[in-house]
């Protein structure tokens, strides 16, 4: 036998049923019983799929109405006191913490490792206590057991849950472990009494550079939980844990899961002397991407493991399937060949089932299915549609000079100023303006074929004119066209590039009820025709002021897509860089003198271990510079990055060599700039002067205060004035009011500077 299991299944439903139900509940259109019924039905469906695939147990505990880490916060009764929840956390309290209340802001949200999933950050402090809340998890488990399923319960491991929480400065979260462990042990004992087959504790933090004291806490933690628990599976994923092999072999757990998709070579550190009393779960199906698995390659890896481990070999996807869409079968418009190369969560269950049968019954017993799978892999490998020789040749011919502007910044900025003639503290915005109901209606009608191309273009041009007129009235110095024609900063460009395709139902959860549908890069990327030039050219005809051309950068195009797995990410990034470089050059040729290349995702690609950062940053910076370096010195290149910790990668941010960088800083009251000042960031900076995430219009004194703070660390001649981010989610009234204050603040500061 070979044990097959999954670490988790996507919870949102193939047709995003959970989104519909949760949002209806929030609107008061579906009561709690109705919402719980939807959750029950979704779980039942997902367990049935796992059962149908012949998995050895179903996974319980991966479902959540908002976020599974937040479920653990409710399960451990760890609600922050500021929410004033009375008694055990109920569903209303759970949502109050997730979404905020009139009196209290929501819990903070953070990215889950290097995925696009965001979790709610538990708030802990010295007074935090934990108590088992039996209203959570246990009813779901009862549902699985009542349906006759053999259940494996999954929970965040105690150390990972603590690590991801926030705590006041100077407070050591790890000191709470002795308080937390009894709750885990109490729960584990109940799970055992209920007949749970396995307890899966997720400890992905083991893939990070973990401090020694945290590593040292593992024996204590698992020593406290395991004795009373069902057999414990400790699950690691997203990276190698090979350096912790000795520790992991010694822990009192019954099984360990390794991510062999992200870190295949780590198996060598575990397999040869894997303890006889433990199972080893090998994550061989990619839980982070939607391509079909090369089963022949995987079986070649599994057979030696099977010979050594026998029944102690488990097989699984690399991580929870939370990060892939649910069911490929719903896709009706995908090119059939491309579709045949893909596997969503349901199809990955089928792959797992086939691997299990091949291991148990021998490959001849499933020869036909393996042959069919191999043909698909072969078809993809040899498909002409994935390979464009001209693109490959262009990447191969790249020279260092292609990533260099012709003059250093000091010369460029002087040449740009001679052309642009901007005042001190020039004002601009980040790119988008309010996407009004009229714009969305026009786009929806155009997509539905109810509005012709000419009428749609006319409608968008009218919006652009409105935007330009308003900016002229406001007195902004560098204008934007407002991006009414764009739905999403990745999809809009992907739709116009070769090598991209799009799904109908390829949704993955981003946070809460929000889902994203990343485009799919399946082949070599190129740009057949200009994508934005006509819109920018038109906008420039409406004003004598400089009109900024707006593009998404190569890293953003890469990290917000499902990327082909048959080419290194670096190579795909360089292809994207060349395609976007062509657009930059065409914008310049069309008379656009300022071009912004947005890269909000540069941190998203950072590897989990710092030792791997330099290699990534090297090609990431190269990709940006290739995009930006095809223009003359007089053309000013801007970039925009969102609120993020930049200080540890400032040399790489500087190496991008953008003439102007605009960054989100107002919420941190310009603190971010200290790092830029300390580093002596050489080029122009536009720190956001107000937070666009709220409709609130800041008073002029607030903006003045922030600008003064900025002026203390950035010389006036290198300082720009702009909002924190794009304005597409705002309405016009607050947008105009806030920009009026912003322009007035800049003018006043200019006068003071003389």
């Amino acid at each position: 036998m070979s044990h097959a299991h999954i670490l988790g299944f996507p919870r949102i439903g193939a047709r995003r049923e959970l989104k519909t139900a949760v949002e209806a509940h929030w609107k008061g259109q579906l009561d709690e019983a109705g919402l719980r019924a939807v959750g029950r039905d979704l779980r039942a469906r997902h367990w049935a799929l796992q059962q149908a695939a012949g998995l050895d147990c179903v996974t319980v505990g991966d479902f959540a109405f908002y976020d599974h880490l937040h479920n653990a916060t409710a399960l451990f009764s760890a609600a922050p006191a500021r929410f004033g929840l009375q008694g055990p956390v109920d569903l209303a309290g759970y949502f109050a913490m997730a979404r905020g209340t009139a009196a209290q802001p929501a819990l903070a949200m953070k990215k889950w490792f290097d995925t696009n999933y965001h979790y709610l950050v538990a708030e802990l402090d010295a007074g935090s206590t934990f108590r088992l809340n039996r209203d959570w998890l246990l009813p779901e488990l009862q549902g699985a057991l009542a349906a006759g399923h053999r259940a494996k319960v999954v929970l965040p491991g105690p150390l990972t849950w603590l690590w991801q929480a926030s705590a006041p400065a100077g407070f050591d979260k790890l000191s709470l472990l002795p308080r937390l462990l009894p709750v885990y042990a109490e729960l584990a004992a109940e799970l055992r009494a209920l007949g749970v087959a396995w307890l899966q504790l997720d400890e992905p933090i083991l893939s990070l550079d973990l401090p020694a004291e945290w590593l040292a806490a593992y024996p204590q933690a698992y020593g406290a939980i395991a004795p009373a628990a069902p057999p414990v599976l400790l699950a690691t994923y997203f990276g190698s844990v090979a350096e912790h092999a000795a520790l992991l072999k010694s822990l009192p757990v019954a099984a360990l899961h390794l991510d062999l998709v992200r870190a295949p070579r780590q198996l060598e550190a575990f397999l040869p002397d894997w303890p006889q009393d433990k199972a080893l779960s090998l994550g061989v199906i990619d839980g982070r991407n939607l391509w079909r698995t090369d089963l022949a390659r995987v079986l070649a890896l599994l057979h030696p493991a099977k010979a050594l481990l026998g029944e102690r070999l488990w097989i699984a996807p690399s991580c929870s399937l939370l990060h892939v869409p649910t069911d490929l079968a719903l896709e009706e418009k995908l090119d059939p060949t491309l579709k045949s190369w893909m596997a969503f969560a349901v199809q990955k269950l089928d792959e797992l089932s086939l691997l299990k049968r091949a291991l148990e019954q021998g490959e001849p017993a499933v020869w036909r299915e393996l042959q069919a799978a191999a043909q698909v892999i072969e078809s993809r490998r040899n498909a002409p549609s994935t390979r464009r020789e001209a693109v490959r040749a262009r990447v191969a011919a790249l020279q260092p000079a292609d990533a260099e502007r012709s003059a250093p910044f000091a010369q460029r900025i002087a040449a740009q100023q001679a052309v642009l003639n901007l005042p001190k503290l020039p004002t601009t915005t980040i790119g988008s303006f309010p996407q009004t109901a009229e714009i969305r209606a026009a786009r929806a009608a155009f997509k539905a074929g109810k509005l012709g191309e000419a009428d749609y273009t006319a409608a968008m041009k009218a919006e652009i004119k409105l935007c330009v007129d308003k900016q002229e009235q406001l007195g902004i110095d560098v204008l934007v066209h407002g991006e009414p024609e764009r739905n999403d900063m990745v999809e809009y460009f992907g739709e116009q590039m070769d090598g991209y395709t799009f799904t109908q139902f390829g949704w993955v959860q981003s946070y809460g009820s929000r889902c994203v549908k990343p485009p799919v890069i399946y082949g070599d990327v190129s740009r057949p025709t200009p994508m934005t030039v006509e819109w920018s050219r038109y906008a420039q005809t409406l004003t004598a002021k400089p009109m900024k051309g707006m593009l998404s950068g190569p890293l953003t195009m890469l990290f917000w897509s499902f990327v082909r797995d048959d080419l290194p990410k670096r190579d795909v990034a360089l292809q994207l860089a060349l395609a976007l470089r062509d657009e930059v050059v065409d914008l310049e040729a069309a008379g656009i003198k300022v071009i912004q290349i947005d890269e909000p995702t540069i941190r998203e690609g950072l590897p989990l271990k710092k030792a791997d950062w330099p290699a990534y940053l090297d090609w990431a910076v190269q990709a940006f510079r290739i995009t930006a370096s095809g223009v003359r010195d007089e053309t000013q290149i801007h970039t925009h990055m969102c609120y993020s910790e930049f200080n540890d990668i400032l040399p790489s941010i500087a190496a991008l060599d953008a003439d102007v960088i605009t960054i989100e800083t107002s919420r941190a009251r310009m603190k971010l700039l200290d790092g830029f000042a300390e580093f002596k960031y050489p080029n122009d900076i536009g720190p956001g002067l107000y937070d666009i995430h709220s409709p609130r219009v800041p008073a002029q004194d607030e903006m003045k205060d922030l600008l003064q703070r900025a002026l203390k660390v950035v010389p006036a001649e290198r300082l720009w004035v702009n909002p924190d981010c794009g304005l597409k989610t705002r309405g016009w009234p607050e947008t105009e009011a806030a920009l009026q204050v912003m322009v007035a603040t800049a003018r006043e500061a200019r006068q003071a500077l003389g």
Partner: protein, 59 residues
């Protein structure tokens, strides 16, 4: 370990779980329907966290 389910039961469950019949599926009425004006039209309570609206994408 062998907790396998009988193959016939697998198939029945598989068929049931993949049944496209809207009437048979209690979740059918919850299939998400894009609003007429479908773009990220977030309400204020969604826009929080460490990332800005560029990053906290989603519909």
């Amino acid at each position: 370990m062998g907790f396998g389910y009988a193959r016939r039961r697998h198939d029945a469950a598989k068929d049931a779980s993949r049944d496209d019949s809207r009437e048979a599926d209690p979740l059918a009425r919850f299939a998400y329907v894009e609003p007429e004006e479908s773009i990220a039209n977030e309400s204020a309570e969604h826009r929080h966290g460490e990332n800005c609206s560029c990053n906290l994408r989603g519909e």
